[in-house]
Amino acid sequence: MELAGTVVDAMDPLMPPPVRRIALDREPNVAPPRSAPNGGPAIAMGTRLRGPGPTSAEVRERMSIESVWLAYGENWVVRDVSLPVRQGEVLALIGASGSGKTTLLRSLNRLTEITAGAARSGRIALDGIDIHELEVNDLRRRVSMVFQQPNPFPMSIFDNVAYALAEQRAVRAVRRRRRTPELEHAVEDALRRAGLHDEVGGDLGRPALKLSGGQQQRLCIARALAAQPEVLLLDEPCSALDPISTATIEELIVGLRESVAIVIVTHNLQQAFRVADHVAFMHLGELVEYGSSDQVFDRPSQQRTRDYISGAFG
């Protein structure tokens, strides 16, 4: 009788699972919430990774986004956004899902064009030249991208990076696995810049898919850096990774900003706070606020930014 009852209970989908109490041998050790100091950020953000900021002479504008509208079919997903992308600093795009961050990012190297029905108005320029006047593959070598999911190709670590390096006409040489000293040097240099060289250094013939998730993502960054791009686009590069891999990649991003302009899309406000010099907050396709990281996180001028940063929505 009792057994029958148990069976019925267990099979009832509406029945919540039984509470399982965890035995404690000591008092729980919970830190009391710190009250935010006056004028400080609304939530505890952790420490910033940015060192002393580069001098203004080092910061120069590489890309300019001028009154850009982007649409998929009939839907405008980015409305009238203007932003500068500067070398020497990290620009973070923050905002809730569906705010158009990723679409804006993908439009910077014309990856939006892969999607059928994508349309654009306004001007995006790389060093003063409209990106639609550049040859698209040339543009994508200069404005490289790293995606949310680590996506190494199913080949060896070496071949992953060498593939990015190969000019179209030299692809044949790479396919024959001809490892010229220049190619090897360039591959190792890219791996070193992505902080992966010391971990995999000895064995570049290993399949890339055997690496851990964090290593795979750094391999993707190495691949993106291999062709010496001028702008690096990162689309939530850490969202599929554990905190330790995330910390490694964040340090990497901050270290790279001197040599390459970086734009990062992130859902993670703490991450934006840790790595970004400038922050752009987007909501429903509009640019709500753009400013230095200090200003946006400490003294947001817009109510919507304040709400988002304090966790009222998003």
């Binding site: 148990t6 069976v7 209970d9 267990a10 099979m11 109490r21 965890i22 035995a23 404690l24 041998d25 000591r26 008092e27 190297n109 990856l111 892969i114 593959n137 040339d138 543009l139 994508r140 070598r141 200069r142 490289s144 991208m145 995606f147 999911q149 996506n151 190494p152 190709f153 199913p154 080949m155 593939y163 990015a164 179209q168 692809v171 396919r175 993707c220 691949r223 993106a224 062709a227």
Partner: protein, 338 residues
Amino acid sequence: MATSALSPRQPSPTVAQPPRERISSWPLADRVCYWLCWATGVALCLIALAIVLFMLVKGISYLRPSLFFESPAPSLHQSEAGGFLDPIVGTLIVTAIGTAIAAPAGVAIATWMSEYGRPSWLARAVESAIEMIAGTPSVVLAIFGLLVFARSFFGFLSQSASDGQVTGQSFFIAGIVMALLALPLVVAATREALVQIPARMREASYALGKTRATTIWRVLLPSARPGITGGIVLGMGRIIGDTAIITILLGSALRNQGVGSVPVLGTLRGFGSTLTSYVYNDSPAGEGNAPQKAYAAAFVLLMIVLVLNALVTRLTSGGTERSRAWSWPALSWMPWTR
């Protein structure tokens, strides 16, 4: 205090077992259907077993090493009928020609359909064409091939009679028509393999400034290689096993008869036989002069196709070491292969 309130008096875990279903409680009609399903499955196993065992017993008892090295000879006495060297060579030639045409063409068609596919009406038309060819009986393909290749325009592929009439029967022509048989299998396998590659692989390549062509050559086709190879091997099995095309388009000769004096080209333009036509001709249904040799040849044919099937299973199942282990589809019910 709070700690003691939470102190462990853990209940022993009870795992709820789903009640075991009793078939005897089912309605009669359901029970009858259930047993019929069961019986059909068992019957199929028995038939597969019977095929393998029968061919094993019949085939091995007549199989002699010499059969592999002797050419067939026309004789009323089985002992003087020779071996099946020519049919084995013929099977290899036809398979090689068919695969050499079907593999690149199939991969090309599938790549276009999956990666380009524009305009869409053309893609739909190509898809329908592939389905039509896949559904056409091979004997119809064979007659169609005879119709096309017996024209004087295609005389260079076969031989001409003294009155100038082109025979339209040769290794070349049989191989070309066999390619149509293998093509749908290669196309289907390649498309399936390409569809399986996540879109982010393509995006990653485009984002590195690679053209679509480079992406296909260097990323997509290498990733799809196991699937493509599986499709090609499946197509080879199809070619090896087909009889109708051989009977109609290879001249039903006993030996491979070359034309002219050029060695390789002459053979390819001439009549010949394969294992399937040899089995047919020597069986009691054909001329019936050497049934024992037909059994031996059929056994060899079965073994070739089984090995190819095992190869497909091994190539396409990626996965774990265990699933990549050699498996023999027709034998895998045996306890020691588990």
